[in-house]
Amino acid sequence: MSELTLLATRHSDRKRDALASLFRVSPNGFIPWLLPLSLLVLWQAAASYGALPPSILPAPFNVAKAAWRLLLSGELLTNAAISFKRAFSGLIVGGSLAFLLGLSNGLSRISERSTDTTIQMVRNIPNLALIPLVILWFGIGEEAKLFLVSFGVFFPIYINTFHGIRTVDPQLVEMARSYGFKGFELFRRVILPGALPSILVGLRYALGIMWLTLIVAETIAAQSGLGYMAMSAREFMQTDIVVLAILIYALLGKAADGSVRIIERLSLAWHPAYRKGVRS
């Protein structure tokens, strides 16, 4: 093996190490789960000894039974799939618009001058305040959810993309220009990697807002999805399903956050803060 391929392998080795470290269970890996698990045990104990009436908070075991029942009937997966589809189509539509606008405003002063003030004004409207208007516009169809989620995820991604591009080290840009980099090559090699940490922070915020908006929209204006499942269970006093839905939200939030962490570890392996063994 030539020294060059050796160098290249060493580099890809490190990427693989970064990937492996994500799935390696460290001896201290259970510590973050200690608190939620003991809460669960406490909860089960309280319910078993009658301290918690089932109509207020059903025992975890009953919630698990409800989950199993809904899983068998297919209801849970169907609703989860619908919610997932809504959430991610909103993220893709709103997120890519925000990314493109953030890029264009970050790179061009004319673009910034003509749109940024407007965006900053609209940004301060809570997106859930739009629900009455959105129902008037779209009814309770898919467009309503798509609109609300897109609207919600737009701002964190826009602001962080814009900020990321504006704060790329101008000395690096000058250096790259002096080596003949311009246009797309300058963007790809210097500006985008420099803005990426900030863009990913925006994505992380956006994922939180994405689920929040969707669940609220589904409880108010939907006929399917996890939010709807919880809402219709309320009408029949099925507390176990309501609690199940809430637990699923918690897990979804954790999963969304975890997936951005994986993206960060892989694409920001160069960043000292995301190096192996360092918690961001």
Binding site: L4, L7, Q171, S178, R189, V190, P193, G194, P272
Partner: protein
């Protein structure tokens, strides 16, 4: 044997630089006034001067980073073609998201094909003594090592002209001496023309064939340095010349102060 004799035994590939009546003002304040400067192919020139004397502006003009000047600048390669300068800054300016070898290959510009670029980058890294560090991230290197990577990046494209903007200013004294001899060695080996801006008189005397003193936007002194290489900082004549240059520099400072008052 003097450096020039040593270099003439090889093919000199350095560029010649000619500035004719170069004037640069910011607003109404003139920073450079009628600079006339000729640099021979393969020559090593040091530009010294007080802060605010215009030496960095002059360097930015030669490097092609500042085009708002009057007068003419021509940089011609040994073959008579127009050529571009490579720059080494005071900061290493390495891309933190690229490995050391990718940073060096970056110096070949956007068109370079990957495999070929890496082979050249590897050779450039070897030349600065960091051949085995190519796979690492820049932030694990020390300040001096980062500057060596920046030097390799500047040299990987085999430039005719290397322009250095106080590249050793931020290094500690020992590292700086090591970097000076490295710079001298690669310059002797590769035969490019070098223009170094520095405020360190000893550094200028150690490295340069000629020292140019800039004072209030004009060339106040243009001094050929006659010593053989490698130069001995402790030698008596070296000390005398150092004294002479320092006096000239300090005199220019007192003038500047009068000017300000």
């Amino acid at each position: 044997m003097s450096a020039f004799a040593l270099k003439q035994s090889e093919t000199i590939r350095g560029a010649s630089v000619a500035l004719r009546h170069v004037t640069r003002s910011f607003g109404t304040k003139p920073v450079l006034e009628g600079i006339e400067l000729d640099v021979k192919p393969g020559e090593f020139i040091a530009i010294v001067g007080q802060s605010g004397s215009g030496k960095s502006t002059l360097l930015r003009i030669i490097a092609g980073l500042d085009n708002g000047f009057q007068g003419s600048l021509s940089i011609d390669s040994a073959k008579g073609q127009k050529t571009a300068a490579r720059i080494m800054y005071q900061e290493p300016r390495l891309l933190p998201w690229a490995s050391v070898i990718e940073n060096v290959a970056f110096g070949l510009g956007p068109q370079s094909t990957r495999h070929q670029a890496f082979a050249q980058a590897r050779a450039a890294l070897d030349a600065v003594g960091l051949g085995d560090r190519g796979g690492e991230w820049p932030d694990v290197l020390s300040g001096g090592q980062k500057q060596r990577v920046a030097l390799a990046r500047a040299l990987v494209s085999k430039p005719d002209l290397l322009v250095l903007d106080e590249p050793l200013g931020a290094l500690d004294a020992l590292t700086r001496i090591g970097m000076q001899s490295l710079l001298e060695r690669v310059w002797l080996e590769q035969g490019f023309t070098a223009i170094l801006v520095t405020h360190d008189v000893t550094e200028a005397l150690t490295l340069a064939d000629r020292v140019v003193l800039i004072e209030n936007g004009r060339i106040a002194l243009d001094l050929a340095i006659p010593f053989d290489r490698p130069r001995r900082r402790g030698a008596v004549q070296f000390g005398e010349l150092e004294e002479h240059l320092l006096t000239a520099l300090l005199k220019s400072k007192s003038k500047t102060e009068e000017y300000v008052i």
